[in-house]
């Protein structure tokens, strides 16, 4: 219930914000009769209306995770992967990420390490050698 009410408020805020932002748009010269604002404004107001409906008639709760720590840790691993892929290169960053994610999925340390390196090397061979796709090389200039 409470989750739906918060969602309703968030949708109202998003809808009103988006509508306000759309109404601020100015076109230097009026070339077509529609302009940039009416469509986003309408869509945003529908979102706000949906939010209002949810606020007044909330339905469902939030399903709390069984392992509450795992999703945030996975997000941290993914953000790290996104930030490190260019400086470290695909091979090294993928090996690190895959090891960390395998650990999060409950694998043992040695197995995770082996899997991480294998996954990274296999994908790198597939992309770089077989398909000739440009992926960051980073610190290993192979």
């Amino acid at each position: 219930m409470i989750a739906d009410r918060i969602l309703g408020l968030a949708l109202i805020a998003l809808g009103l914000g988006a509508a306000w932002s759309a109404m601020q748009l100015q076109v230097p010269f009026a070339a077509d009769p529609l302009g940039p604002s009416p469509f986003p404004t309408t869509v945003a107001l529908v979102i706000a209306l949906c939010g209002l409906a949810l606020l007044l008639r909330p339905m469902h709760g939030f399903a709390w995770p069984e392992r509450a720590l795992a999703p945030p840790l996975l997000v941290v691993a993914m953000v790290g992967y996104a930030l490190l892929m260019v400086p470290l290169g695909f091979l090294v960053s993928s090996a690190l990420m895959a090891t960390a994610v395998a650990l999060l999925f409950g694998a043992r340390i040695v197995a995770s390490g082996v899997l991480g390196v294998t996954t990274a090397v296999a994908l790198w061979l597939l992309f770089d050698k077989l398909l000739d796709l440009p992926l960051p090389r980073g610190i290993l200039s192979l």
Partner: protein
């Protein structure tokens, strides 16, 4: 151009060695994806799309590969449903009812065989229907004015509330969110920046692959990591093989299921899940006297699997002929075509026959491949289930990131994909359906462009939107599609 010469041209495209190979790869991947829990056709196509673009596959080849994954997945979902009582795809739920009892009686192999044959019958007959129906449907749509198109898209979006699993309000909110996300960037009509939040990277808009991979691949892995996923080893009992007599016995059920599945598939909104449920119920009612449904009736396996595949193919018809996708996966396929600067719709069959007819021809070939692949090799696919999550998902994640990077070469897009992943995860936990977001996203541009054209034609008169009989009917249906779930919710 008549249908047969057009189809012949399509076979000329589909039979090129490279395209045959892609169809074959797609069929294998599709079946595998149907088996694996947590990866559906939608996620898989989203993952493959950036590689198609980065490898500069021509659009018809990319579509042949992606579509093969799509209809191939219809063959895979049944394997887990029958052997483990666990549907690999939502549309395989009904298959568990009779499939699993059959497996327990030692006839798992026979159940898999009949469902494979059913999938083939449903898909192939639907491709035949599609061959003859697509162009006439497209011809009707050519006559649609921009105002009619506005009404048609509004109707498609309003239907989301009526047919989606969750509450209607959430489906509409999600659809509108998809429309808003599509507006990010420079507006093509006026050159004004919208919703870029001052970010240079967002000026060009949000890349479709980033949204799809984030929502479906990354979001799904976040959901999977919450629970320790355990899958018990599958057993494929030897048992009595399927007899020809049993196939003939199931044939009428398969033909009925094909009809139900194809029609449901062509209609906007409803998809394969509805079709398989409807055909199962129909068979159960029709054969009340001589059936043992629920305890292992062959027809109870054949009907939903046939309908499932027929509906999948049916879903492609409005996507190709009208440019309006009927399901989440066809929305991603539409997104794929748009990334290639090809607008599906009435003119596709005339302007890009190699794309439209190449795809249709490849589906005849692909379904034959799938039948051959699935009858003898079903055991190998079933063994995929024993691959543990910690082996599979790190690789899927690396694949997602490599895909996003290969398509855009930007670290910003990687972070954006993670953000969409978190959004997709949270939304699923709050029962906000994700399919309307992609649907809104791919339809947004088309909706606004047609709105703009309609307004230009009428010189800004808003009543022109309801000026034609077609648009009036469509708007009336839209209003009904909005009011019906609301009335249902109020009565609650």
């Amino acid at each position: 151009m008549d249908v047969f010469s057009a189809l012949g041209g399509g076979f000329g495209v589909a039979l090129q060695p490279g395209n045959l190979l892609l169809a074959f790869i797609g069929c294998i991947l599709g079946t595998a994806i149907g088996v694996l829990p947590g990866i559906g056709p939608l996620n898989a196509i989203a993952l493959l799309l950036p590689f198609c673009l980065a490898l500069r596959l021509p659009p018809e080849s990319a579509l042949i590969l992606l579509a093969a994954v799509y209809y191939g997945s219809g063959y895979g979902g049944r394997i887990t449903a029958i052997l483990l009582n666990m549907p690999g795809e939502p549309s395989a739920v009904l298959t568990t009812l009779d499939g699993h009892p059959l497996a327990k009686q030692g006839r798992g192999g026979a159940a898999l065989a009949i469902s494979g044959i059913g999938s083939f019958v449903g898909a192939t007959l639907s491709v035949v229907a599609m061959t003859f129906l697509s162009v006439p449907l497209a011809k009707v749509a050519v006559a649609f004015s921009p105002a009619d198109y506005v009404a048609l898209i509004a109707f498609a979006l309003s239907l989301l509330g009526a047919v989606s699993d969750g509450p209607a309000v959430k489906a509409w909110a999600a659809g509108c969110l998809g429309l808003l996300l599509a507006m990010v960037g420079v507006d093509s009509g006026t050159g004004v920046e919208r919703y870029t939040l001052g970010s240079l990277e967002l000026l060009g808009g949000i890349d479709f692959t980033v949204l799809a991979i984030g929502l479906f691949a990354i979001g799904e892995i976040l959901l999977l990591i919450e629970t320790r996923l355990r899958v018990e080893a599958a057993k494929l009992g030897g048992g009595e093989p399927l007899r020809l007599r049993e196939v003939i016995f199931c044939l009428p059920a398969m033909l009925r299921a094909t009809g139900i599945g194809f029609v449901i598939g062509v209609l906007p909104g409803a998809g394969a899940s509805v079709a398989s449920a409807l055909s199962y119920t129909a068979e159960k009612r029709l054969n009340e006297a001589n059936g043992k449904f629920g305890q292992g009736d062959m027809r109870g396996v054949a009907a939903p699997e046939t309908a499932d595949n027929a509906a999948q193919i049916g879903n492609l018809v409005p996507m190709l002929s009208l440019g309006i996708p009927g399901s989440g996966t066809t929305a991603v396929l539409l997104g794929a075509l748009l990334m290639y600067n090809i607008t599906p719709g009435p003119l596709l069959f005339e302007q890009r026959p190699e794309v439209a007819w190449g795809l249709i021809a490849s589906m005849y070939i692909g379904n034959a491949m799938l039948l051959l692949l699935n009858l003898p090799l079903v055991g190998i696919f079933a063994r995929l289930l024993t691959v543990p999550a910690w082996v599979l998902y790190p690789g899927v994640l690396a694949l997602s990131f490599a895909g996003v990077y290969a398509a855009s070469n930007s670290a910003f897009d990687l972070l954006l994909a993670v953000a969409f992943g978190v959004m997709g995860w949270l939304f699923r936990k709050m029962e906000i359906p994700l399919v309307p977001i992609v649907l809104g996203f791919v339809l947004g541009r088309m909706l606004e462009d047609n709105l703009r054209r309609a307004m230009s034609l009428s010189d800004g008169d808003i009543w022109a939107l309801v000026g034609s009989p077609v648009s009036m009917v469509l708007w009336a249906m839209t209003v009904a599609a909005v009011l019906w779930p609301m009335a249902r919710a109020l009565r609650r």
